[in-house]
């Protein structure tokens, strides 16, 4: 809620402020998320953007399925302001917030309170989520008057309605049909009885029978509403011809409504089935899960896989006779997990006993449950023991400790300590939600993503990348980076309006300790200390906020909660300097693809926080304003994402002997007319569209053959990167395969003197990139290989042989890896496998690094006596892999093979870094060695 402020009072220091900020500041619009704030001040508010929602609905319509989710749509703030300024004008002061919130609830009941509270409302049962209580509902009894036998003829349809379009459309509101026609697109003629032949025609007077559908209306788009259906209810509100207009007029803004229809008799059988059929989710499972819907179904899907989390008490209190009193918390309740629960005695005994036997806490144990091998991780805190059981096929023993460590740290960040997390009974539903997310991400991560499950889920990939004590970083061109940093600094200086102290002459509520900014799951700016950044990132990772922002445009995301940053809690790094005793709050605001996490401190310099304060509108709006300001940079970000960064990558498939690749491409081309046309076009007109960068490139390369091949490969690439401009082609696959066709053809066609050298990468380097390893490596590889390998390869000349890489900067807590888009552009059939394999191998390499390191981190004290790993400190570790194409059917010839290295290197000097690369075997050793040296010497 916004404070109503007399604008004169601080007019003079407003002039130089951003218009967005001022607008936000002066608008007295009540924020949408206000109703979602929990008693304890926490907020988890997520809404999808309009485009997302329509796409989702289109999918629903296409699959003829029911949808049950309820989404609120965001509009541009400015629009909302104009619309609702009149209805909601009310003043408030900060201190008066609670009272006003109540008032707001009474007055502002125009929106339904959503169920997207992330399971925090506690009402979410373990079995099925209760249906949302609709505000529109006028009577408690649902579908009164509907006979029991009619129930099987009922059908539900979800329709997306946007009253705003109504206002904006030039056509006047249809007088006769009213809102029903204009908004919904359903034609109902009360007097129209002619032509009705079925028996029910006589009784139709009081009913809203669908007599027709208006083209392009929501009703017809949803595909489920048929002529003859009788509309019974809108969002559980019974409707009749008398009240329908009133009900529809109550819909305040764009939303999805659930319509209940009674079908004509002949269709009842189908209808029954349709209703029984489980709906395919219109929005991704992840969003549903975050909203706290539908966890039962997801959980059921993994019910047979043994997994459990238990918080057990090691204290024996013989006086109480309660059963299972030692289980302080347990999730989930399934058959497989009950078996693990049944043997909790083992965990307790081992935890207690082994410390005396081997002199260390127990870390893990492995159990065989039927056919499933289960690894159990332990974490002991005070007199309690956290036990996490995970299936071995998902979490190898090597990474179990990291996984358990991370979940413990996340819990500690959220609740301060394990005890405070688990021992409060009212936390249970939230913990259920927390661990549901945890297990879903580990066991069936593909269910949370959209689309079909990938043939080969990169489980190790997420294990490895999430397990790194670092955040994925996106290097930006310096000018953009500076702009972003400036905007963030502006915000963090918090001298704006009500955030500044001299505004009211009061102590400010919060001190902004720092913030970090994500764009599509990449960290692009960070003003937080490393440990705080990791805390924040763990939280985001756990709630899948990063993939969420990259896959879907988030309409609005506001998260507010008290957090307990681990570094600050443990007293800070410097002796003699004590951290101010304050409370910390995490504010995450997401808009579209941007997400900003702000760490606030109350107490210390700011006024101490009392009770459990909810999100402060001023701060939320300032973050929002920052994000809106940053939105102007979105184009630049996209451009950056479209341009592969300096270490250019190759696709593994290119390295298999050309015959197979060509065959496959030919078959691909012949099967798809678009492709063959494209391929023909590439061959036919080499001077098609040409990227800007190409000219620069051409000046460097004089060979006509080169430039021909360059344009051949560059043409479709540009079509791909200029995606919004050329939507006709499928953005990912077509240009890419076109590129491959072009590239391959040319390199094959060349007589061996030209070569496909920098074909795939050089022309696309547009930005001077701070991460210039690739450039160096590239030049090295080029030069050296040209000298050393002249005729040995099928495609003579030099090819870029780098497949994948991960560079982690331990000090800054960031890592760099090729962007998802870069990887997607490489496509190929072997390449995804290769990346999986790379990540799996990295797990092993990193485990070797970790185990050889002198102990650090939260368990440092316990590990100090450890005399080190048997093999001694590992500096570098590499594995050579061989791969063969799958489904090799040719019996006569042996399958072609390709070998590649995965190498990890850890450096402690000058800055601690870990570097993992994957490259083709053909690289001579010398340049690899030099590339390593150079990259480490230069850093980021």
């Amino acid at each position: 809620m916004f404070n109503l402020i007399d604008g004169n009072s601080f007019s003079n220091n407003l002039e130089d402020f951003d218009s967005i900020r001022s607008v936000l500041l002066y608008s007295d619009l009540e924020p949408e998320w206000l109703d979602d704030i929990q008693k304890n001040g926490e907020l988890f508010y997520l809404e999808l953007s309009e485009g997302e929602e329509e796409a989702a609905l289109a999918r629903v319509a296409a699959s003829q399925c029911l949808s049950t989710n309820h989404v609120r749509f965001s509009e541009k703030e400015a629009e909302v302001i104009t619309e609702q300024a009149g209805t909601q004008r009310r003043g408030s002061r900060r201190k008066g917030e609670p009272a006003l919130k109540k008032l707001a609830r009474i007055l502002g009941r125009k929106r339904r309170p959503s169920q997207r509270k992330g399971g925090k409302d506690g009402s979410r049962g373990k079995a099925t989520p209760s249906p949302p209580a609709s505000i529109l509902k006028t009577q408690p009894g649902q579908q009164q008057g509907v006979a029991v036998q009619q129930r099987r003829r009922l059908k539900e349809a979800c329709v997306y309605l946007n009253p705003k379009r109504l206002a904006s459309s030039p056509t006047p509101l249809c007088e006769r049909g009213g809102l029903l026609e204009a908004l919904l697109g359903v034609v109902h003629r009360p007097a129209w009885t002619g032509g009705q032949t079925d028996r029910g025609a006589v009784r139709q007077d009081g009913r809203l029978t669908v007599h027709g559908l208006i083209p392009n209306s929501p009703a017809i788009k949803c595909g489920q509403i048929l002529i003859g259906d009788v509309l019974l209810a809108v969002d559980d509100v019974d409707v009749s011809p008398e009240n329908i207009e009133r009900v529809l007029s109550c819909i305040p803004g764009p939303t999805q409504v659930r319509l209940l229809f009674l079908k004509p008799l002949e269709f009842s059988l189908f209808g029954y089935k349709a209703q029984k059929m489980k709906a395919s989710p219109p929005v991704s499972q992840l969003v549903r899960l975050l909203w706290g819907e539908d966890t039962a179904e997801l959980q059921m899907a993994i019910g047979h896989i043994p997994h459990i989390v238990m918080y057990l008490s090691l204290k024996l209190d013989s006086s109480s006779l309660q059963e299972e009193e030692e289980i302080l918390y347990q999730y989930p309740v399934s058959e497989a997990s009950s078996q693990l629960k049944g043997v909790r005695g083992i965990f307790l005994t081992l935890c207690d006993m082994l410390e005396n036997v081997t002199g260390g806490h127990i870390i893990s144990s492995s159990l065989l449950l039927g056919k499933h091998l289960v690894h159990v991780g332990y974490w002991k805190e005070h007199n309690n023991l956290l036990v996490v059981g995970l299936p071995a096929e998902r979490v190898p023993l090597l990474s179990l400790q990291t996984v358990v460590g991370d979940v413990v740290r996340t819990l500690k960040v959220m609740y301060g300590s394990l005890n405070s997390a688990f021992c409060k009974p009212d936390h249970a539903p939230r913990l259920d939600h927390f661990f549901c997310l945890f297990f879903q991400q580990l066991i069936q991560p593909w269910r949370l993503r959209e689309g079909a499950p990938p043939p080969l889920p990169d489980v190790s990939g997420s294990l490895f990348l999430d397990g790194l004590p670092a955040v994925r970083w996106l290097t930006l061109p310096p000018e953009i980076k500076m702009e972003v940093d400036t905007v963030l600094s502006d915000f963090e200086s918090s001298d704006f309006g009500e955030m500044s102290e001299d505004f009211f002459g009061l102590r400010r509520l919060y001190v902004i300790l720092g913030s970090c900014l994500f764009y599509k799951s990449y960290l692009i700016a960070n003003h937080l200390p490393k440990e705080d950044l990791l805390d924040v990132c763990l939280y985001c990772q756990h709630f899948c906020l990063l993939p969420l922002a990259s896959e879907q445009r988030v309409g609005q995301l506001v998260i507010w909660r008290e957090v307990f940053p681990q570094q600050r809690a443990s007293g800070g790094p410097a002796p003699g300097f004590s951290q101010p005793q304050g409370r910390h709050f995490l504010l995450i605001v997401g808009l579209r693809h941007f997400m900003q996490c702000v760490l606030l401190e109350a107490g210390g310099c700011a006024s101490p926080a009392l009770g459990s304060p909810g999100p402060d509108c001023v701060y939320v709006d300032q973050v929002k304003a920052t994000l809106l300001q940053l939105n102007t940079l979105e184009a630049a970000m996209e451009e950056r994402l479209n341009v592969p960064s300096a270490p250019c990558l190759s696709c593994a498939d290119w390295f298999l002997p050309a015959a197979t690749t060509r065959d496959r491409l030919d078959s691909l081309a012949s099967s798809s007319p678009v492709l063959s046309k494209l391929a023909g076009a590439i061959r036919g007109s080499p001077s098609g569209h040409r990227g800007r960068s190409l000219f620069g490139e051409k000046s460097r390369r004089s060979s006509p053959q080169r430039s021909l091949s360059d344009s051949g490969s560059e043409g479709p690439m540009d079509a791909g990167s200029g995606l919004p401009a050329a939507p006709g082609l499928s953005p990912h696959s077509t240009p890419d395969s076109g590129r491959r066709i072009g590239g391959r053809r040319d390199s094959l066609g060349s007589d061996g003197s030209g070569g496909s050298g920098g074909l795939f990468k050089m022309p696309r380097m547009k930005h001077p990139n701070p991460f210039y390893l690739g450039t160096l490596k590239k030049t090295l590889t080029d030069r050296e290989t040209e000298e050393m390998y002249n005729t040995t390869k099928l495609t003579s000349g030099t090819e870029n042989t780098l497949f994948h890489y991960v560079l982690m900067e331990t000090v800054q807590g960031i890592f760099i890896a090729p962007t998802h888009r870069e990887v997607a552009q490489l496509s190929g059939s072997i390449h995804p496998q290769l990346i999986c394999n790379f990540h799996h191998c990295c797990l092993s390499i990193r485990a070797a690094f970790q185990q050889s390191l002198p102990a650090r981190g939260c368990r440092a004290a316990d590990r100090s006596q450890r005399s080190g790993w048997g093999l001694g400190p590992v500096k570098e570790h590499g594995v050579l892999f061989q791969c063969k194409p799958e489904n090799w059917t040719d019996q006569k010839k042996p399958a072609p093979t390709m070998t590649y290295w995965v190498i990890g290197r850890m450096l402690l000097e000058p800055v601690p870094q870990e570097f993992y690369v994957c490259f083709h075997d053909s690289v001579p050793e010398v340049p690899v060695e030099m590339a390593f040296r150079l990259s480490f010497g230069l850093g980021l």
């Binding site: 002199g359 070797a848 093999l871």
Partner: protein, 431 residues
């Protein structure tokens, strides 16, 4: 509490939990601990949750295994210096338990172990296995990796043909198809049938011969059960010392008597070959004849022939080498070689399964190598750069090769060094 680096072995009856013996660490674990270790496993088994291993901070590890539903073996390792990391230590202990069980079968026969009639008598009988089990538990014995690799440690003689003929003839004369010549506890030559024994049996027989020859007697007649071949029927193992460090042995039936064989056969077959044997002894721990050139910066190597299940290993410490690190002792080299082998095997390379015990037990052990199955592509080679040395491992269809070189060797040259060394050895010895 266990000392760092020591391993304790507990043996109990699976059904009743009666302790049969404990070996290993100098200080025995308290009985209550032994009881609870057994108890948790039994409890889990009753609930359908079979406990297989446990790990503690600092590399401590506990591994359980039940053999033939009759004997439970528990290995407790204190972690510390010998502690490899997570997966590695476990596979070492798993292998140890299998070996211990096979040892017990080798000495006592499977019948007596499976049908526990008289526990007190079994306890007494088991004492005869102790020296063998202690050998397996002992970390220090250098130069022998067979119990880990389950491939027979071999020594490649400079001139194998006359020795092969002698062994074949000697075994035939002793009414046996199984004959073998050992030098320094490694197999030099053996009859064809000997190589058809299960690899684990060969390894255990090697260990047995080593302990017998360490006893100093010139000859002995020892009844053995073959854990795979004939777990219930005993054979006679006749062993004769030809020279100090060189032993010949045959597995035979009731005839001939030890006396007869010693007086009649040994002299006839072996006295003409004394000089050849001496040259074998001179090869010593290098295991490879002098004709095989080894680069001076090679510290240690282990070569396994995956088809014949034989291995050659050696450590060469050239103290006069200017670049050699004086801090790296011979025993440390062996330890590093062993650790690197375990590291590579448990993560990247496949280890030939040795069928031990019942089929369901072997499937259980294959579960522990879940990490290996996670690779979508086949690992071929790997290397590790540590502070003390650089290690390189590679696997081909026929061989597995593990090489330790000085840290001064550039990393990018490792692969060439390794493949070259492997090629040299194979071409020189046809191993």
């Amino acid at each position: 509490m266990l000392q760092d680096g020591s391993t304790q072995l507990l043996c109990l009856t699976a059904s009743s939990g009666v302790p049969l013996f404990t070996r290993g660490a100098s200080k025995q674990l308290p009985f209550s601990v032994i009881g609870s270790l057994n108890g948790v496993h039994m409890f889990g088994g009753g609930q359908g949750a079979l406990l297989s291993s446990c790990e503690t901070e600092g590399g401590g590890k506990v591994v359980w295994k039940v053999f033939h539903d009759s004997v439970m073996l528990i290995a407790v390792s204190g972690g510390g210096s010998s502690g490899a990391c997570i997966g590695e230590e476990e596979s070492r202990l798993q292998r140890l338990l299998e070996n211990v069980w096979s040892c017990m079968v080798l000495v006592l026969g499977q019948d007596e172990l499976v049908n526990l009639r008289n526990i007190e008598r079994l306890k007494r009988d088991l004492r005869s296995c102790f020296c063998l089990i202690d050998k397996l538990l002992e970390e220090k014995h250098q130069g022998v990796l067979g119990d880990l690799t389950h491939c027979a440690d071999s020594l490649v003689p400079p001139n194998p043909t006359p020795l092969q003929e002698a062994v074949d003839g000697f075994a035939q004369a002793a009414d046996s198809e199984f004959g073998c010549l050992f030098v320094h506890g490694r197999i030099v030559v053996a009859t064809e049938k000997w190589w058809r024994l299960a690899p684990q049996e060969v390894v255990l027989l090697c260990a047995l011969v080593r302990t017998l020859s360490a006893s100093g007697s010139a000859s002995c007649d020892y009844p053995v059960f073959l854990p795979q071949g004939s777990p219930t029927v005993a054979h006679r193992l006749l062993r004769f010392q030809l020279l100090p460090g060189a032993d010949v042995c045959v597995l035979c039936g009731p005839t001939p008597s030890l006396q007869k064989a010693e007086t009649e056969l040994v002299g006839r077959f072996w006295s003409p070959l004394i000089e050849t044997l001496r040259s074998c002894l001179a090869v010593g721990e290098r295991c490879l004849p002098g004709s095989v050139p080894l680069r001076p910066d090679v510290l240690a190597l282990l070569l396994i022939n995956r088809e014949t299940r034989r291995s050659v290993s050696c450590v060469q410490i050239s103290s006069h080498h200017p670049l050699s690190d004086s801090s790296l002792s011979k025993s440390r080299c062996w330890e590093l070689l062993k650790l690197f082998y375990i590291f590579s095997i448990s993560r990247y390379f496949t280890q030939e399964e040795t069928l031990c015990g019942s089929p369901e037990e072997s499937t259980q052990s294959s579960h522990t190598e879940d990490f290996l199955h996670g690779f979508s592509h086949q690992p071929q080679q790997c290397y590790l750069v540590t502070e003390e040395c650089k290690s390189y491992g590679l696997q081909t269809q026929q061989h597995q090769f593990f090489l330790l070189v000085l840290p001064s060797v550039p990393t990018f040259a490792l692969r060439t060094v390794a493949t070259q060394t492997l090629a040299d050895i194979i071409s020189a010895t046809a191993f």
